[in-house]
């Protein structure tokens, strides 16, 4: 981690001894939600976590939030795309903490951060009835599992409405929904004289009608509904808003986020309180506590909460409300009422704004996810292209080795002739003539190849180099990971459009990236940093840089870098940079290389801006 902190965001190579971080840098917290952003529970929890964490002033905090939205987009493929998206988006970002709000599969707290950010500590907040999988505890993550307080809610129902004889339980069909229903069924055993009906087979669209004619002595307990029997995804709070106003009997809920809908209340999970507890936990871990040593908290108690307006509607005497329960939405003095109104309005506005931003974000997220898929598809094409380049190289090396082999054999023969007492000068002359001929032939191979490159004339199109850079870096990323090299792309500004041939420019970039990787094989893992960056050049074009932290280039060799067959690699052909130069110059650009300070080499190329 110390290494990551020291190098991120810097173009230059780390000093030989990577230094620790400074406190002035903000701590970056990534919040991962399994549900969408427009889920009220999420909004409230997210706000509460942030608020709690910001109470602590030791660190400046920077928050990012991402939403898997598993209710609308389920399936492994979507998860993979999401994971890839998160991986790419936060690649090169310095994350200090992941706060996960996983569904019952805990993938957001386990599999995903473990794969993408293996060294970043994880704190999770899970609201469900399932046990924490062993694999999660093994990963050393900590967090809070909050259970629904079903016993507390049933107790509150009987306290407020002692005459209740029947509880209609409305629940959904997902695994998590069924787990909650199972808990309710379990608790119902201890409620003698009360009949429990489980409504899980009714489409949500039919429910408002069904609940409008329930007889007296009945109450509705709204369990969780992630999906109804038709497979349609819902949020429980949305359902509460649909049902509570229509119901002919009081509705009770399990989550604080469903309050305000017209429901009476329940021993609910208070999102503010849960968020605050999660925030405290997150602060402890951020402060350096080993999450492995912080036990996972399983909380079963809810906060009794009632809606004063609902009490009025159903004629429930306020004296029945337990002393420890919170009464919400009670009109107080005129001033208080106004204050409340203002606050409520503000909250509504805020929630609306958040929802709207959420929807907009979601759309752009989806667009980006789609782009990722497209990316992967083209990646395949690119791999073919790269291997075609490999085949080309192989063909060239075959073509070249023929004359080179002949030159070698001739030179060796000449050596033997010269060792004889009376060297046959005629023979040696013939040998030299042949050597010259083969040398010419080798030169022709190069010329032919260069003209081949030129003839496969450049397909110049306006293109955004930033996209090309990102795509190429992503392509090289698996290789970099395998070689334990930290490959980052740094784009600080919007780049002007250039005219270029995607395929050829990609080859140049790949070549520079692979060279950079090769140059760092002997460098300790913690210092293998390869940075691709680009900026607007002085002449209005683009200047791209590939900078490594390898051994650098010997000063006497800098001048020869772009010569064909010049190589510093044991198995190098010495063609990569020569070809790259041909390509870049054909674009009207320049390519050059040099050493970095304190270590490593950097290669630069420029491309003129598209003037059209």
């Amino acid at each position: 981690m110390a290494f990551a902190l020291a190098i991120f965001g810097r173009l230059d190579c780390p000093a030989q001894n990577a230094q620790g971080q400074t406190n002035s840098q903000p701590k970056h917290v990534l919040m991962l939600f399994s549900e969408g952003k427009d889920v009220p529970g999420n909004i409230l929890q997210e706000q509460a976590v942030k608020a709690e964490m910001q109470k602590d002033s030791t660190n400046r905090l920077e928050f990012s939030s991402e939403y898997l939205d598993a209710s609308h987009f389920s399936g492994k493929e979507h998860f993979r795309v999401f994971q890839n998206y998160i991986g790419k988006k936060y690649d090169g970002r310095n994350l200090d903490l992941v706060v996960a709000f996983p569904s019952q599969d805990y993938m957001l707290a386990g599999e995903l951060p473990d794969a993408l950010f293996p060294v970043v500590p994880v704190v999770f907040v899970a609201v469900n009835e399932m046990d924490v999988p062993l694999a999660i505890s093994k990963l050393g993550v900590t967090g809070i599992v909050q259970r629904f307080d079903i016993r507390g809610t049933l107790g509150l129902i009987m306290r407020l409405q002692p005459d209740t004889r029947r509880v209609v339980v409305i629940g959904g069909t997902t695994e998590s929904d069924r787990a909650t229903l199972g808990r309710i069924a379990e608790e119902s055993q201890s409620m003698e004289g009360v009949q429990f009906d489980f409504w899980t087979n009714r489409p949500v669209t039919k429910l408002p009608g069904d609940v409008s004619s329930l007889p007296e002595g009945t109450v509705i307990l709204l369990s969780t509904v992630q999906r109804d029997v038709t497979g349609q995804p819902y949020h429980t709070s949305m359902l509460a808003q649909m049902l509570a106003p229509e119901a002919s009997v009081p509705v009770y809920v399990l989550g604080g986020w469903a309050l305000g809908s017209g429901a009476v209340g329940g021993a609910v999970i208070d999102p503010d309180d849960l968020g605050a507890r999660a925030g405290q936990l997150a602060l402890r871990v951020l402060g350096g506590e080993d999450p492995e040593k912080v036990p996972i908290v399983v909380a079963t108690k809810g906060t009794p909460m009632v809606d004063w307006r609902a009490l009025q509607r159903w004629g429930i005497n306020e004296s029945r409300v337990p002393a420890d329960a919170l009464i919400r939405y009670r009109p107080q003095t005129l001033w208080d009422e106004h204050q409340d109104l203002i606050l409520i309005l503000l909250a509504v506005f805020l929630a609306q704004a958040v929802t709207i931003t959420g929807l907009v974000l979601q759309r752009s997220q989806r667009r980006r996810a789609e782009a990722v898929i497209l990316d992967q598809r083209t990646e395949l094409a690119h791999v073919t292209r790269v291997s075609a380049m490999g085949q080309l190289t192989s063909a060239i090396s075959h073509e070249l080795n023929q004359p080179l082999g002949a030159i070698l054999r001739n030179a060796e023969a000449a050596e033997i002739f010269l060792q004889k007492e009376n060297p046959d000068l005629e023979e040696i002359r013939a040998i030299l003539a042949d050597i010259r001929k083969d040398d010419q032939r080798a030169g022709d191979v190069i010329k032919r190849m260069r003209s081949l490159l030129k003839r496969r004339s450049l397909d110049l199109k306006p293109l955004n180099l930033d996209e090309l850079l990102a795509e190429t870096v992503a392509m090289a990323q698996p290789d970099a990971r395998a070689r334990k090299i930290f490959l980052t792309l740094q784009l600080r500004e919007k780049l002007p459009e250039v005219l270029g041939d995607r395929v050829h420019l990609q080859q140049v970039l790949l070549n520079l990236i692979l060279n950079g990787m090769d140059a760092m094989t002997g460098v300790p893992k913690s210092q293998r940093l390869l940075t691709v960056s680009a900026k607007q050049a002085k002449d209005g074009g683009v200047e791209a840089t590939v900078s490594d932290c390898g051994s650098g280039i010997a000063p006497d060799k800098i001048g020869r870098l772009f010569e064909p067959f010049f190589t510093t690699k044991e198995n190098g052909m010495g063609m990569g940079l020569a070809i790259s130069q041909t390509i870049i110059e054909a674009h009207g650009g320049k390519i050059w290389g040099g050493n970095n300070s304190p270590r490593g080499a950097a290669f630069f190329f420029t491309l003129p801006a598209n003037d059209d």
């Binding site: 090396s397 023929q402 054999r409 033997i416 002739f417």
Partner: protein, 212 residues
């Protein structure tokens, strides 16, 4: 040429004229007898029994390639060790070539020491195999001088039958059997039945699979 026929020759097969010329030149300078061919087909056409030496062949050639040349050579009148030369060695081809019995696998850019070393080894192996083949051939030639009847008698003798039994089996006079025996021992230049049996075995006569 100052090398007598039947001596060890390095046969070079390469479609690259320039390389063919240069490597021939080098090997001649190193003291070898060289016979160069521009294609595998031309070389195989020249193969005759009794040829001895080794083959230096390019792997990638138009027409018959190096591996196909090797396969044809194994079945030819004069199998010889093959050294492959490639402008670019890749592992799958190398493995295939070595499995096929290639003596060595070199790239065209390997130094001459490596090449000459490989040729020395191949020639040694070639000579050994050639000698063994020569011995066998002379042996077979000797057997080939026998008449069909003498061959029949020989087969009975090495199977351990007495003259009387042989006479019965072949339906001829016992005296005639004796005559055939004397003739065949003289022609094969052997003194005893034991020696006769050993020679017959060496020459691979009357092996299993031959009809009784």
């Amino acid at each position: 040429m100052n090398t007598p026929p039947e001596s060890e020759i390095v046969f070079i097969v390469d479609d690259d004229e320039s390389f063919l010329k240069s490597v021939s030149r080098l090997l001649r300078a190193a003291g070898y007898s060289v016979n160069a061919f521009g294609s595998a087909k031309k070389f195989l056409e020249q193969i005759a029994p009794g040829m001895s030496g080794c083959v230096l062949a390019d792997l990638q050639m138009p027409g018959l390639n190096g591996l196909e040349l090797q396969a044809a050579l194994v079945k030819s009148a004069s199998p010889m060790p093959v050294i492959f030369l490639s402008a670019q060695g890749d592992i799958p081809t190398t493995v295939k070539a070595m499995r096929g019995g290639a003596e060595d696998f070199l790239t065209k850019l390997d130094p001459k020491e490596k090449l000459l070393d490989a040729i020395r080894r191949a020639l040694a192996r070639g000579a050994r195999e050639h000698k063994a083949r020569g011995h066998l051939r002379t042996l077979r030639e000797r057997f080939a001088t026998l008449t069909p009847r003498e061959m029949e008698v020989l087969e009975q003798v090495v199977s351990g039958h007495l003259n009387k039994q042989i006479a019965d089996r072949l339906g001829i006079n016992e005296r005639t059997v004796k005559l055939h025996r004397t003739n065949l021992t003289r022609r094969l230049n052997v003194k005893s039945v034991a020696e006769l049996t050993r020679l017959t075995e060496e020459a691979g006569m009357f092996r299993r699979g031959k009809t009784d």
